[in-house]
C-alpha cells in the first residue's frame, strides 16, 4: 500500500490522526497533515483506508498496488 497526502487540500481536521496515529500526524503550528509512513504495514491498512474515506478534504490517496 502506498499513501499520498495532498497537503494544499488538507483542512487540518485531524480525523486521520484520530484513526491512524502511526501513519499520520499534524504540524503543531497549523494542524496540517504530516505523513509519517507512506508505505505502512499491513496491520495499518484498514485504519489508513478509513482515514482516506472520512478525510473531509479528500486529501488522502491510497493506492493498493
Amino acid at each position: 500500500m502506498q499513501v499520498e497526502v495532498d497537503v494544499p487540500k488538507c483542512v487540518a481536521s485531524g480525523q486521520c490522526v484520530l484513526i491512524a496515529p502511526d501513519v499520520f500526524d499534524q504540524r503543531d503550528e497549523d494542524g496540517i497533515v504530516v505523513l509519517l509512513d507512506d508505505s505502512p504495514p499491513v496491520e495499518q491498512y484498514a485504519a489508513v483506508r478509513e482515514s482516506a474515506l472520512v478525510c473531509p478534504a479528500a486529501a488522502i490517496t491510497v493506492s493498493e498496488r
Binding site: 494544499p8 487540500k9 483542512v11 487540518a12 481536521s13 485531524g14 480525523q15 490522526v17 484520530l18 499534524q26 504540524r27 503543531d28 503550528e29 497549523d30 494542524g31 483506508r49 478509513e50 474515506l53 472520512v54 478525510c55 473531509p56 478534504a57 479528500a58
Partner: protein, 428 residues
Amino acid sequence: MNRVVVVGASAGGLATAESLRRLGFSGDLTLVGAEASPPYDRPPLSKQILTGELTAAQVELRSAEQLDELALDLRLGVEATGVDLATRRLSTTKGAIGYDALVVATGVRPRSLPGATGASGVHFVRTLDDALGLKESLQPGQRLVVVGAGFIGAETAAVARSLGVEVTMLEPEPVPLARALGEQVGLAFGALHREHGVDLRTEVAVREILNDGSRVTGVRTAEGGVVPADAVVVGIGSVPNVEWLQGSGLSLGDGLLCDEFSRAAPDVYGVGDVARWTNPLFGVSMRIEHRTNAAEQGLAVARNLLEPGAGKPFAPVPYFWSDQYDRKLQAYGYLRDHDEIAVVAGDLRSPSFVAAYRKGEVLTGVVAGNAGPKVLRGWRAAIARQQPWRDVEAGPGQLDARSGGAGAARTGGAQLRTVDRMQRPGVF
C-alpha cells in the same frame, strides 16, 4: 443481499458505496446521482474554488480510475422519483431499479427567494457550476449582496473582501451565526466581518431578488428598501431532499427519520445531510449538514447494512470547520441548544481562542479559533467521554471558575462566562 442501490452521488453516497466494497460486498452496486458531474467535494465551493486556490478538477472526490475500481453501476444525471418498499423498487427519471437494500443520501438543496430564478448573477454556492459562475463575478469594485450570514454567506463574504469586492451582508437575526455557534461567538464573527469592510446589516430580511429581465440588480428588503447589487449570494439555509419519498411509507420530518443505526426501515438507511437520526452520545435527534458526517455515516451505514444483526449505533462527535479571513474555526460536538458558553482560552475577539459549550451538566461542544491540533484532540476526547462540566471549570490549568462573578454576562438564553486562561486546555 445482492443488490444495493445508493441514491445520491455526493460525499455521503460515495462513502457508502466505497465502504461497501472495502467491507467485501461483491454484489450489484448502483450509485444514482442527480447531477451530471462525477462526485465532487462541496466545502471548497465557498472557499478555495472562489479564491482560485483549487480548480474544478481538484475537487473531484475520486479519479475516474478509482471510480472504475469500485465496479459501480454509476448513473449520473438521474433523479430518483419514488420508492416502493413492498416490491423493493426505486423509480427514477430513467426507469426503475430493483434493490435488496436502499441507501438514501439525497442531501439538501438551498432555500430560495422570489426572483432568484430567471436572471443571471444569483448564486447559492451549492453546486460546482454555480460556484464557478460566482467566481467570475468576484471582481474588484463589484457589489456583492450576501443574503444570510450563515457559513456559506460568511465564507463567501470573506473571500469576496479579499478580492476587493464591495460586500453587503444582510442577516434577518440580530446576530450572525448565532444559531450554529451561539450569540457570543456569533457577535465576535460579526465584528470580524465589519473590521474587514463588510457592510453587515442585522435584523434585515430580504423579500425578493430584483432583476432587469436578464441580470440581477439588487434585493428588496422586507421593509421595502432596495440594496443594489451586481451579484447576489443566497445563503439562507437548506431543505432536505425528501419530497420524492412522500407516500412511500418512510417517516419524513425535517429529513428522513432514522433510528440510532441510521435505519429508516428494514434494509433502508439514511446517510448525510438528508438523514435525521438519534445520536446516542448526545441523546438527541440530529441532522448534520457537515462534510465529515456524510463520510462517517456512509461508513457506519455500510457496516450496518451488511450485518444488520450486529448493527452498531452511529454515535459520532460531529465536526466542522470554517475559514474566514485569517481564522480557521473548528468545532466538535453538538452546539445547538446549549445552556452556557465558557471561553477557556484566549478571547473571542482575537484570532486564537477556545470556547466550551455546556448542556445540562456535561461538556457537549467546543469551538476553537486557530487552535493547535493537540488542543483540539483533547477537547474532542473529552466530549466523546461526556466529560462533566465541573471538570471544564476546574481543569488542570487551575481554572478560576468565577461563576456569576466579574466575568459573567448574560445575553439571550445562554450565559457567557469568561474563565481564566487555561494553560493546557486539551488535557483533562
